[in-house]
Symmetry: C2
Subunit: 262 residues, 2 copies
Amino acid sequence: MSVVGYSHRPATRVKARALAIATEIADDLPSALANADLVILATPIFTFEQYFADINGLIRTDCIVTDVGSTKLLPHRWAGERLTRGAPYVGSHPIAGSEQRGVEFARDDLFVDARCILTATETTSGQAVRALKRFWSALGCFIEVMTPTEHDRVLANVSHLPHVLAAGLVNASDAGDMKSAGKGFLDSTRIASGPANVWTDVLLANTDNLVEGIDRVIAELAAIRQALKAEDRQTIDAFLDGACRKRAALVKYKIRKKELLS
Amino acid sequence: MSVVGYSHRPATRVKARALAIATEIADDLPSALANADLVILATPIFTFEQYFADINGLIRTDCIVTDVGSTKLLPHRWAGERLTRGAPYVGSHPIAGSEQRGVEFARDDLFVDARCILTATETTSGQAVRALKRFWSALGCFIEVMTPTEHDRVLANVSHLPHVLAAGLVNASDAGDMKSAGKGFLDSTRIASGPANVWTDVLLANTDNLVEGIDRVIAELAAIRQALKAEDRQTIDAFLDGACRKRAALVKYKIRKKELLS
């Protein structure tokens, strides 16, 4: 099997070659795609439309196209519009990675015991979905299949909204005060260190779901604000205790699924 | 040197004895405090007033009293009112620990390279502050001294507000959706697993600063909400990029202070 890497940045290609990150690093799309069985886009979401158009004439019509972007509705739409020669598209979203960016942070075991969501619509090729299940499973993932609509709603809530909150908290914090921060602050804002340009695309590709999530969080904050003003111990305790129990159930589930160590 | 532990819960005393967590575990306050040089309260904040009253007649007048509570204005006030026989009080806030609770999570190295804030007012004994500097330094901490007012303002922003946000995010999240959460969601909500009753006291002891912090976060969320509605890429990018850079500066500072590994 041959794994061919391509980046539009020459410096990234140099680094990728030095790190032997793939079997081969190509210098242009046509040579990267020649005879490919599977193409994986891993660029900011709003670049996908052009990439689909660019690769459309460069790949075999049975070459499977996927991506590892964080939203799926727009990629499915763009793939439908731009992959006009029949190459099947399936969305992939391995829930793995960190706030770090660049080929130098690549890891062999990144996908071991990670969840990977595949997205498919009524028109998606079942054969391509099965092929991608095998692909991600071989890397160590366990697979869930969702519609792009469901994916974007769920991911808004568990990923894009937390990102907005983390960035909002950092923005709302005084730089001097932050020096006194402990591990709690650092952990709860870690994701805000993710690359801004990648995340701008994610947020822009999921605005409706995000606005709903922000409204839910603002409602929670307004409620606890009122309870604090009223020194309403019972409401504050219920707010904290409810969150504590709900998160405990989540941690238990994640340990059972081996996504977390016990 | 003798370290005497006391808990009002018999079960905790049994566990602490089994774990040999201290030189001695006492079964009541008078025997715990007999001839103590230093008393450290580590209970929910709103229990301090009664403890100060209870220990007032049980300790030598040169015995230093401190606590490891997360707010300091109320403890200083209560100490002033209840330690009527002259024992000096200084607030201590070692910025260490986790969301775990109980003597079984005690660790020898918990305070190594941790920040410890001491709080003092105009009337606080300089000798007691110096003694506590030596005490926490010996455990591995580096020391900052603040007024209780400054402490509570700063800690509202870097600890109590993040706690409210983490709990608010969990409360705003659907339990089914949360199953798709990755490490980002888990990290950014970890502190929401802290013991609710302890945190209810913290929030209730710092309501004014917290309400101001909540208002700042709501303003940030309202701004990003508007930018998302307007699909205003420039504003969204500035929001994310600003947070990313500000947090990078914080991480750099924390690595320099050895609070984080590089």
